[in-house]
Amino acid sequence: MSSTLTATYGDAAQPRVGFFTDTSVCIGCKACEVACKEWNLVPEDGLEWTGESYDNTSSLGANTWRHVAFVEQQKPLRLADETVELGIEPLPLRWLMESDVCKHCTHAGCLDVCPTGSLFRTEFGTVVVQEDICNGCGYCVPACPFGVIDRRTLPQSSGDPPLALQLLNRQEDGRVWKCTLCYDRLKDGHEPACAKACPTQSIQFGDLDELRERADRRLEKLQAERWNGARLYGRDEDDGVGGFGAFFLLLDEPEVYGLPPDPVVPTAYLPRLWRSTALAAGALVVGLAAAFLGGDE
């Protein structure tokens, strides 16, 4: 990865950075959602009561770049441990919270399929949309295995246009938007707004190599303490997207949090797909020519 960055950016290349989101210490305060919206001038995306625990944000999208998921479960937080005599049954109830974000994949589907070059990889190894280039073709939207990036539409219900639009002096929008990992802040040597605002260090920002080591140590500790279901998600480079730039420590299967269990970048199959497309094109010519064998009538 870093060698790729060096090849592209030369001396301007930076160590690859990312997030380690440790959900075991998330308290669901949503400071990350708010800090992200404020710093990046992300418009309102509707105010609805979902009845889904404390989650009224529901999913990542063009106007939501951090999303805190809340899961209420009839499962114990820790597995029973015969070495510790608690004297009481552990309460079979836990409340999982997870701050989701763009994964900044090593092999990013959105970036691969973008036909304008609007999506690009920065000198920090992150994946960012250039909004002055995007023409809203929408190909990146179904190409993301995580459903992160989306085309921006604005709620028309409220009378006044959102404040962000007034500040940006724009008629919105038709383009796609997602987390930039606060590219502007990185350029000035600051950490992203969500990590800065996180009060429990559930969102940790840093060099990816270091974050991975830190995550390994954290997982070891939680497993030693018999936390139920503790696992890392997106840490390893041998997964279908070559590892996430923003990876997670989860306490249950990924799909419980609305994450795909085995994400694969669509372009992984592209060589085979191009071959098949070329063969089909050849077959079309042969088939059509064969139709002329019976004469003109």
Partner: protein, 303 residues
């Protein structure tokens, strides 16, 4: 039944407008018509060649308009020409459409004016070469996504769309060409229809659990319309298309309509499969289970 987050989708539904599905149809007609035109010219079937050229050029001219109107920022459509990316079927396809549309329209205009014969021949050659990929790349475009019912059909979609395009080009030319010259177009329409019917059945069967969206909702409804119209049209062409111009026209129209319904069915199936997280999770769970089995097998000491 797999777990999910309040039943919410994992992958996003496409944001494409209906124009995109219509473009799959017009682009297919354009691409396959260029080939039909080329072969007709080579075999000296001038009436068919002329008609296929004009049909292809018209479809090629409509296609970019459909695509531009789908863009969130139509005024920036030229940004498609900033780069050429082999990792993006849409980028490759934009260039193919540019070349094919430019060539077929140049050839059509020169044919009408009856001037610049060598330039026209060159344009016809370029259209002939760029036509087939124009007809099949749209299958790759859909398959190269995270939408379960599209990505899992990666082995069929380019073939299905190529067959559908062939059927349509044949059908359109059958409608326009006098009986004495329409034979190759009619056989093209029949052959393409049979191939498209077989391929869509194969695709739906092989998709297994994910393929059930083709039996539900809009995808199911339009899929049934597609099969009925295509089969009826191809049957009519085979039985009476050689003798009756009316039968040729009705049969051709049924095939064209059926194949438009097919594109719409495939298009909507993508939206339907994105909406339900089970279609995303279960194939991935199966993949993980297969991989776990394989690694257990590898770890076992040789007997």
């Amino acid at each position: 039944m797999s777990d999910s987050y309040y039943g919410r989708p994992i992958v996003k539904q496409p944001v494409w407008k209906p124009e995109v599905a219509v473009y799959f149809w017009t682009g297919g007609i354009a691409g396959a018509s260029s080939v039909l035109h080329g072969v007709a010219r080579l075999t000296g079937n001038e009436p068919l060649a002329r008609r296929a050229l004009f049909i292809g050029a018209a479809a090629d001219a409509v296609s970019p308009a459909l695509l531009v109107s789908d863009l969130g920022r139509p005024e920036r459509f030229l940004n498609m020409m900033r780069v050429f990316k082999v990792t993006s079927p849409m980028s490759v396809g934009s260039w193919i459409l540019l070349v094919s549309g430019g060539a077929s329209n140049t050839a059509a205009v020169l044919e009408l004016l009856g001037i610049l014969r060598p330039v026209k021949r060159l344009a016809e050659l370029v259209a002939f070469v760029s036509g087939p990929p124009l007809a099949t790349y749209t299958g790759a475009l859909l398959a190269n996504t995270a939408i379960p019912v599209w990505s899992e059909a990666r082995d069929e979609l380019p073939w299905l769309f190529g067959s559908s395009a062939t059927a349509c080009a044949g059908a359109a030319a059958t409608i326009a060409t006098p009986l004495a010259n329409a034979g190759p177009a009619r056989r093209t329409a029949i052959g393409g229809s049979v191939a498209a019917l077989a391929l869509s059945a194969t695709m739906e069967h092989r998709l297994g659990f994910v393929g059930e969206v083709y039996r539900q909702g809009e995808a199911g409804r339009y899929g049934r319309i597609a099969k009925a119209c295509t089969a009826a049209g191809a049957g009519l062409l085979a039985l009476a298309g050689r003798r009756s111009r009316t039968a040729a026209r009705v049969g051709g129209a049924l095939v064209l309509g059926g194949e438009l319904a097919l594109r719409w069915s495939v298009f909507r199936a993508g939206f339907q499969s994105a909406r339900d997280p089970r279609y995303t999770v279960e194939p991935q769970r199966e993949r993980l289970a297969r991989r776990a089995d394989a690694s257990r097998g590898a770890a076992r000491p040789p007997a």
